[in-house]
Amino acid sequence: MTDAAPFNSDLLTLTQWLSPAFPLGSFAYSHALELAISDGSVGDGAQLARWLEDTLRFGAGRMDAGLLVMVLRGAKVDDIADLARALAPTRERWEETFAQGTAFARTVSSMGGEAIPAMALPVAVGVAARRLSLETRDVAALYLHSFTANLVSAAVRFVPLGQTEGQRVLSGLHDVIGAVASGALGATADTLTSAALAADVTAARHEEMPVRIFKT
């Protein structure tokens, strides 16, 4: 293995940005999975897998991947930041993406990267990742993986599920993540769509929960 191609450390940079240790406060956000668990819609590994798969295919997964891809492909950042803001279906959904995006931008900037203004998370990640020599689809897939892993972690704590069961669910979603990342490659502002109607109602109802552990 001595004559391998030069090592591409950009992969490690992206992995670091999207790891649970990167200080975005992600552990506090459940994407309203908390309410889906409380009301009994998600009570075991199989139901969690289904909920995550549908969120990736029909909801925020597909939407965020599309926004990220548009930024990577060179779209005007302000336009995509506005688009992300306009697409937020509820207050908590906006706070979830904006607070994490803002923390991401601040951390990357203070690590010596370019200054990124406060904006939704997929847009901020897209701006930072423009300088990485990585395939667009791989960046989108790793982003979706990070999003999914964070929700698995929320479910492991709150359902609760065994750690291994959580990891099994996450592994089982690799193909879906790949498919959603591939599907996002042709994204444009006019083709971003959602069918996560019930999840959006749940997100609004999460704001009304009298006792809650997660911010969203």
Binding site: A36, S41, V42, R50, W51, D54, T55, R57, F58, G59, D82, L83, R85, A86, L87, P89, T90, R91, E92, W94, E95, D190, L192, T193, S194, A195, A196, L197, A198, A199, D200, V201, T202, A203, A204, R205, H206, E207, E208
Partner: protein, 259 residues
């Protein structure tokens, strides 16, 4: 092969109608109302939509004008043998104006293919309220839809800035997953009511106290937006809930066609 092509356009100023155009099977009526807001009722006289149909409604509330726009009946989208029915709704609200776009529900039938785009351009200090209710087949008829292509996009620009997008898309894949707590939670009817205005978010508590009998609903408010999202097993309980929400939100009676 185009079956229906209609366009109805109305421009309202503070003292009444400024311009009215209607062609094809689109009509716009201006009933006499005893209210501070003028009312415009749009109608598709062909009785429904199918592949290839094109329907355009446009309504402008000029500066300082209050207007309520609605539709005469529920819009029905029937099976399309070929092509997609297109509905374009163009709205605008000038400075200090108030526009309520309150169409009746859209009922989709098996095989329907419909693409609707509702666009609104509003001034920074204008107020815009919009409702869309969609019913996927009629429960009383035992209809269960499997093959529907429905795209319903609402885009609002406030001042120069994009402010609100609701990009709903229902496909056979979504209907396959209809039991999912993410997509339709097994429900047949869904609705979004949105109010865009300065300080709109202050109305959250008032709307949360509206009875949710027969529906699952949530209310959210932020950044000059007040949003109500609701679902129900059929159109009727949802229609009643939306009517209660609109009455509370607007503090005035609904257009007569709603009653």
């Amino acid at each position: 092969m185009q079956r229906v092509n209609g366009r109805a356009a109305v421009v309202m100023g503070p003292r009444g109608v400024i311009d009215l155009h209607q062609s094809g099977s689109a009509k716009a009526m201006l009933p006499r109302v005893h209210d501070t807001a003028a009312e415009v009722v749009f109608l598709n006289t062909s009785g429904g939509l199918t592949g290839g149909d094109v329907m355009r409604f446009s309504l402008e509330a000029q500066a300082g004008t209050r207007v309520v726009g609605t539709t005469q009946t529920a819009e029905r989208a029937y099976a399309a043998s070929a092509g997609t029915a297109q509905v374009c709704v163009d709205l605008s609200v000038g400075a200090g104006g108030v526009l309520d776009w309150l169409p009746q529900e859209t009922i989709l039938f098996e095989g329907a293919s419909l693409a609707r785009e509702t666009r609104c351009e509003m001034a920074d200090d204008a107020q815009f309220c919009c409702v869309e209710t969609v019913v996927l087949g009629r429960a009383a008829m035992g209809e269960r839809l499997n093959n529907v292509h429905f795209s319903d996009r609402r885009v609002v620009k406030r001042g120069a800035r994009l402010d609100w997008i609701e990009p709903v898309q229902i496909t056979p894949q979504v209907l396959d997953a209809r039991a999912s707590a993410v997509t339709l939670a097994g429900q047949r009817a869904f609705s979004t009511v949105v109010l865009l205005a300065r300080g709109a978010e202050d109305g959250v508590e008032r709307l949360r106290s509206v009875s949710r009998e027969g529906v699952t609903a949530g209310v959210s408010g932020w950044d000059g937006k007040l949003v109500v999202r609701a679902m129900a097993s059929d159109g009727w309980p949802l229609r009643r809930y939306v009517a209660r929400i609109l009455e509370r939100m607007r503090g005035t009676d609904l257009p007569r066609v709603w009653q």
